[in-house]
Amino acid sequence: MFQQFLVVAGLSSATYMLTALGFTLIFGIMRVVNFAHGEFLLIGAYTVFVAQHVLGLDYMIALPLAALVAGGFGILAERLLFRRFTGDEIGGMIVALALAITIKGAVTVIWGVDSQPIDRPFSGSFEIAGVFIPRDQLFAAVVALVMVVVTWWLLNHTRLGLAMRAVAQSPEVARLQGIAPWKTYPVAFAIGCALAGLAGALAAPIYGAEPNMGDAALMKAFIVVVLGGLGSIPGALIAAVLLASIEAGISILFNATIAALVSFLAVIVVLLVKPAGIMGRS
C-alpha cells in the first residue's frame, strides 16, 4: 500500500504544481489574486472538447491549442479588466471573481451542465511489482513537470524572465531600468493563464470537462500557494508535494474528509508560524 501511496501522491503533486504555478506567477508579478484561475483551467478543458468534437483534432494537437487559447483569453482579460487593478489587491480579487462567474456561466449556457465526453488518448495502467501507475495520469504528470521546468528556465535564463522578475521586485525601479511593466503584465498573465489552460486540458481526459471543474482546482492552487508563499515558485513546488502527500496519506489511512481537514489545519499552522508561507517573502 505504501508504494501505491507514493504513486498516488507523486502523480497528484505534479498536477498541483502546474495549477499552482500559474496562480503564483500572476500574483508574484502583478499582485493580482486571480480568482478566475480555475475558469482558465475550464477554458483549457473545453478547448480540448471543442477541438476534438467540432474540429476533429487529435488530443496531442488540442493540448497546446488549449494552452494558447487560455493564454489568449488571459491577454484579453489583462488588457480589458486587470490592468486597472494592478497593485489594488482587493479590486483585483473582486473583478477576478466576477470574471470567474461570467466564464462559468457562459460555458454552462453554451454547453449545458453535463460533463462533456473527451476522447482519451491513454487508457489502462502500467503494473510494476504490484503497484499500478495509470497511463493517463502519468502522461499528465510528465507534461506538467516539463512545463514547470520550462517556466523555471524562462524566468531565470531569458531576458523576458529577467524583466518579469524585475517588475515583481519593484515596478518603479524596473521602469527606471527601461522595462515597461505594462508590456510585462500581459505576458505574465498570458503565461499564468496558459499554464492553467494546460492543466485543464491535461485533466479533461482523466476527469471529464464540466462547468464546475475549476472550483476544486482553484481551492487546491490557493492552498498550495498560501502554504508555499504567495509569489514564490520554489515554495509552490514544495507545497504542492506537501499537500499531495498529506492528502493521499490521510485519505488512505482515514478518509478524504479528514484529509481535507488536515490540509487546512496545515495551512493554519504554517500561517501562524510563518505568515509569509514556507518560502514567501512578506
Binding site: M1, Q4, F5, V8, S12, T108, W111, G112, V113, D114, S115, P117, R120, S123, G124, S125, E127, F132, P134, Y207, G208, E210, P211, N212, M213, D215, A216, E247, A248, S251, I252, L253, N255, A256, T257, A259, A260
Partner: protein, 390 residues
C-alpha cells in the same frame, strides 16, 4: 400646480379605472404556480433537471387540453424552478421564496436528503406539499404533506442483495461507497444492514466528499481489503463512472453494482464502455421504450442534459398530483392530500403507482412503482430483471 377636480378630470379618472379594471377581467385564466426544487447545476444536475423537465412536460400537457379544472375555476399551470445545488442552505432560501413571493403550495423536489430535512419544518408548518426524491428514512417520518416519488434503498435493498446472491454466488466480500452527507449516511447504513443480513461480508465502508473527482487514495484503501464486489449505492452517476475507471486502473477486476440511482449514459461516458461492462443498477424506468423515447424527445427541447428516469418519475408524480387536485375540486392542502391518498392505483406512464411505506415510516406516502434492473452491456443498458419491493 393645484389638482383641479372638475367634471372633466373626474370623467377621465373614472374611464381610466374602468379600462384598467376590464383589462384585468378580460385576462383569460387564473395561473396556478407549481414549484420545482433540485440541483439544476453541479453533480446531480441530471436528476434535478429531470424533476424540472418531467413536471414541465406534464404541466404543458395539462395546459394543452385547456388547463387544470379545480371546481369551477380552470387554471393555467406555470412551473417555477429553483436550483438548490444539492445544498441545504440553498434549499431553504428557495423554499422561502416559493412559499412567500411565489405563493406556491405544491413543490416537486428536492433530491438531497439534507435539503429536504432542512425545509421539512417550514413546509409542514405551512401545509405545503412536497414531492421529493430524497432517500433518508427521516424524510417521511412524522410528516403529513411529504410524498416520495420513487422507491429507495429501504424498499428494494433486500431484493437487490438477494438477486446478487442468487445470480453471482461467487461474490462474498462487498465494499460500499457513499457520499459524506445525509443521503449517503442513510443509504449506506441500509445497504450494510441488507448485505450483512443477506450473508455477505462487508469488508469496507467508505465516504467521499461530493466535490471530489479523484478517488485513487480511497480506492487504494478499499482494494487493500480485497472486495469481490463494490456497491456504488447512491453515488451520483458521473462520479460513479469516475470511481469505476479509477478502480479498474488500480487493478480492480471485481464486480460493481449500483443499487441506488442509475444513469447508463453518464456512467459509460465517465468510465468508458470497456470498464463499465457488466455494471448492474436499479432504475425507475427501462430505457429505450416508447414512453422513454417520447418523454426523452420532449425533455431534449427543455434541457441540454441526458434523458434519465427522474424525468419519468416526476412526470408520473406530476400527473398524479394534477389528477388528485381535480378530484379534490379545491386547492386546500388537506383536501388534496386526502385525494392523493385515495387516488391509487394510478396509471403511470410505464406502470401502476400505488402507495406504501406505512410500516417503515408511519404514513403511506411512499409511491411504489416497478424498479427495473439494468446491466451495462457494450455501453448500453439492458433490462435483466425487476426488484421486488418491501
Amino acid at each position: 400646480m393645484a389638482f383641479i377636480i372638475n367634471r372633466r378630470t373626474t370623467l377621465a379618472a373614472l374611464t381610466a379605472s374602468a379600462l384598467a379594471f376590464s383589462a384585468g377581467l378580460s385576462y383569460a385564466q387564473d395561473v396556478l404556480k407549481i414549484g420545482a426544487l433540485g440541483p439544476l447545476t453541479g453533480a446531480g444536475a441530471a436528476w434535478g433537471l429531470g424533476i424540472d423537465g418531467g413536471v414541465k412536460i406534464a404541466a404543458a400537457e395539462v395546459n394543452a387540453r385547456g388547463g387544470l379544472k379545480v371546481g369551477d375555476t380552470t387554471y393555467t399551470l406555470e412551473v417555477v424552478s429553483y436550483d438548490d445545488q444539492y445544498k441545504a442552505a440553498e434549499a431553504v432560501t428557495a423554499i422561502n421564496r416559493l412559499m412567500g413571493p411565489d405563493d406556491v403550495r405544491f413543490v416537486f423536489g428536492p433530491i438531497g436528503s439534507a435539503s429536504l430535512l432542512a425545509i421539512k419544518p417550514l413546509t409542514e408548518r405551512e401545509g405545503v406539499l412536497l414531492f421529493t426524491g430524497a432517500w433518508a428514512a427521516d424524510v417521511l417520518k412524522d410528516s403529513g404533506y411529504i410524498f416520495r416519488v420513487g422507491p429507495t434503498t429501504q424498499e428494494f435493498a433486500p431484493s437487490t442483495v438477494a438477486w446478487l446472491k442468487e445470480t453471482k454466488p461467487e461474490l462474498k466480500r462487498v465494499a460500499t461507497i457513499a457520499a459524506n452527507d445525509e443521503t449517503g449516511w442513510n443509504s449506506q447504513k441500509i445497504q450494510v444492514a441488507a448485505y450483512t443480513a443477506g450473508g455477505f461480508e462487508v469488508v469496507s465502508t467508505e465516504f467521499f466528499e461530493r466535490s471530489q473527482n479523484d478517488f485513487r487514495a480511497m480506492l487504494t484503501k478499499i482494494l487493500a481489503q480485497n472486495p469481490d464486489t463494490i456497491e456504488l449505492d447512491t453515488v451520483p452517476p458521473r462520479t460513479a463512472g469516475l470511481m469505476i475507471r479509477q478502480a479498474r486502473e488500480l487493478g480492480y477486476q471485481g464486480a460493481f453494482t449500483k443499487f441506488g440511482g442509475y444513469d447508463v449514459e453518464e456512467i459509460v461516458k465517465a468510465a468508458g464502455a470497456e470498464y463499465a461492462e457488466g455494471v448492474v443498477g436499479t432504475t425507475m424506468a427501462a430505457p429505450a421504450t416508447e414512453t422513454w423515447n417520447r418523454l426523452g424527445e420532449e425533455f431534449g427541447k427543455l434541457h441540454k442534459a441526458e434523458m434519465n428516469d427522474y424525468v419519468v418519475m416526476y412526470y408520473d408524480a406530476a400527473n398524479l398530483l394534477f389528477s388528485s387536485i381535480e378530484k379534490a375540486g379545491m386547492l386546500d392542502s388537506d383536501a388534496v392530500v386526502a385525494a392523493l391518498e385515495a387516488n391509487a392505483p394510478f396509471d403511470g406512464s410505464v406502470g401502476t403507482l400505488t402507495w406504501g411505506g406505512g410500516e417503515a415510516y408511519g404514513v403511506d406516502h411512499q409511491i411504489y412503482r416497478s424498479v427495473v434492473m439494468v446491466e451495462i452491456q457494450g455501453g448500453k443498458g439492458v433490462v435483466i430483471g425487476e426488484a421486488k419491493l418491501n
